[in-house]
Symmetry: C2
Subunit: 253 residues, 2 copies
Amino acid sequence: MAVVSLTVSYNGAPFAGFARQPDQLTVQGELERALELLYKREVETTCAGRTDAGVHALGQVVSFELAPEEWAGREPHALLRSLNAITHEAISIHEVQERSDDFSARFSAKSREYHYFISTAAAPPLVMHDFCWHKAGDLDVAAMNEAAQYLIGEHDFKSFCLAASAEGKPTCRNLMECKVEPVEVMGEPLLRVRVVGSSFLHSMVRTIVGTLVAVGAGLREPAWVAEVLAACDRSAAGEKAPACGLIFEKVEY
Amino acid sequence: MAVVSLTVSYNGAPFAGFARQPDQLTVQGELERALELLYKREVETTCAGRTDAGVHALGQVVSFELAPEEWAGREPHALLRSLNAITHEAISIHEVQERSDDFSARFSAKSREYHYFISTAAAPPLVMHDFCWHKAGDLDVAAMNEAAQYLIGEHDFKSFCLAASAEGKPTCRNLMECKVEPVEVMGEPLLRVRVVGSSFLHSMVRTIVGTLVAVGAGLREPAWVAEVLAACDRSAAGEKAPACGLIFEKVEY
């Protein structure tokens, strides 16, 4: 058996999310359709982080198993070219790697990093137009970073999890980094919220961003975030930020 | 009379170019439609550089004249907000400025800068997907820069001009810079061709890029570019690079 991983980027806009769903265009569905075309059988894939509808990825990792003769029968670069040729044009496969037999894109991941982009300019940016939340009006970055400090470390993030997904499941997570920084992309100013954690609950990054933006806009004090955490109730947190601003940046193994 | 300028970015994809044309969606048409809505009369605009269909702009400058009471009757920031609200969503107006009475976005310009992006990776980039020419396969950047040296300075660029546009018109131009550099945008590698000149002929930047790419791909030697210049014939140069990779970056006044 050969365990193979793909490093994949995608524009989330056309997809109903990463996870395969009947009769819906999904990233996993596209990748598995392409693998089935190449190997004439169903190939089941696992990913590092399931992204929701509209969420983008730069360094998503997807793994699957091939029989030794299936892996040996095709050069890795030929596999990469074929997959790029067959899959939806919003998906780019950048790397094909053989991994150790016990590798899983999901369970071997040590940490995951997400970047969320906000444009506070009067008019939306050019190149990042479809990769940011355009919310005109200044945000107080220092207050947002003060608020973010409350989230770092091990906490019960139930308040930051889609309510239906949190029921009866463990909701403690370890957030290693959460930082808001001004950045420039192609000469245009944006705010980037950089979040690194062991793993994330459903909607957690977007709810963190929505909560920090409520602080940045002056609607709440930074210390409010401690109350939100303590409440363990989704209704305590801020609104979920729009999907289009979120990019699943990379995975560490 | 008040002379007003707008700094405008746009994604060129939905437009039949900058210049107004009957029954076509154009950037100038959109801006003039918006100005007419606001001022209840036709307002004629002039731009720093007419971009072709599909070509983008980050720092296009557009100027027009208003009567003193028209200019005084509306705060500049309110004008900016109104124009952004009325124009096509692919257009962003970033700045409104009052200029001196003799200012013209076109005739006052000292130099214009264009950036052309090429992705040579196996699969297209994420954020720059619609802002580059995806041409898989390595290009020899040193050879391209050697070739670019022949173009710098005052030359007759007739070979680099759309043939129909060159007839009977002066085709000498001063090219101040022409440089190919590897850059990263949102962590993904691209080649950027940076071109600065006093002004440009129709299709000149894209024909320069196509010619440099022929050298970079090893189809031609760098010195071939001197022959192309000397020929004063469009058929001597390389193919015109696709519109989507070109961004009108900025204007110096």
